[in-house]
Symmetry: C2
Subunit: 93 residues, 2 copies
Amino acid sequence: MLDEKKTAIIFKAFCDENRIRILKMLATGEKCGCKLLEEINVAQPTLSHHMKILCDSGVVLGRKEGKWTHYSISPEGVRIAIECLQNLTIISS
Amino acid sequence: MLDEKKTAIIFKAFCDENRIRILKMLATGEKCGCKLLEEINVAQPTLSHHMKILCDSGVVLGRKEGKWTHYSISPEGVRIAIECLQNLTIISS
DNA sequence: AAAACATATTGACATTCTTCTATACGTTGC
DNA sequence: GCAACGTATAGAAGAATGTCAATATGTTTT
């Protein structure tokens, strides 16, 4: 089981409204930063900040390609997050 | 699918280290506030504050009985949280 | 090499969150 | 009724977070 600190870092991804919007966009497939920026109402440095938190959580992957960064949901990160949520909440002895 | 605000409220439950400790305690069964207070290193009003956030998320249930409040994991709340996490992160078109 | 573009970093400010002390509220037992 | 107990609320202080403008970094194109 992950420690409290790492667990908190994972779920920080899901506790800001703008990050949730970003995740919903990524759920339809990989997108580059500039595309995300078009669809969300924040300044570019703010988006960059949120993308860092999402990547740090492990739930999102960033793939650099030339001047673009393509972001996508990480299936492995998602698996870990769900497992973590279950460990925290499923009653056990 | 839940809106961004409600989703954020659910996952706020999991993004503070002390709340994660509390959830781990509750995963071993229902506990009253005073029992939780013994095991966690915060003042009583701070615990009360965290319990409110946990209950607001729907992941924890509070059951009043005389002067005690007994807290437990809500299986239904957990189900919704996991479903919500899956909706946000499982790739779809 | 210079211009244009995508993204990251810095620094400042406002808001939100965590925590505490003090106090209030509701219940139990004398 | 009053004291003791468990919990909640109010208010304040400090820390963390979200946001932006300005600027830096790295890449592509001309």
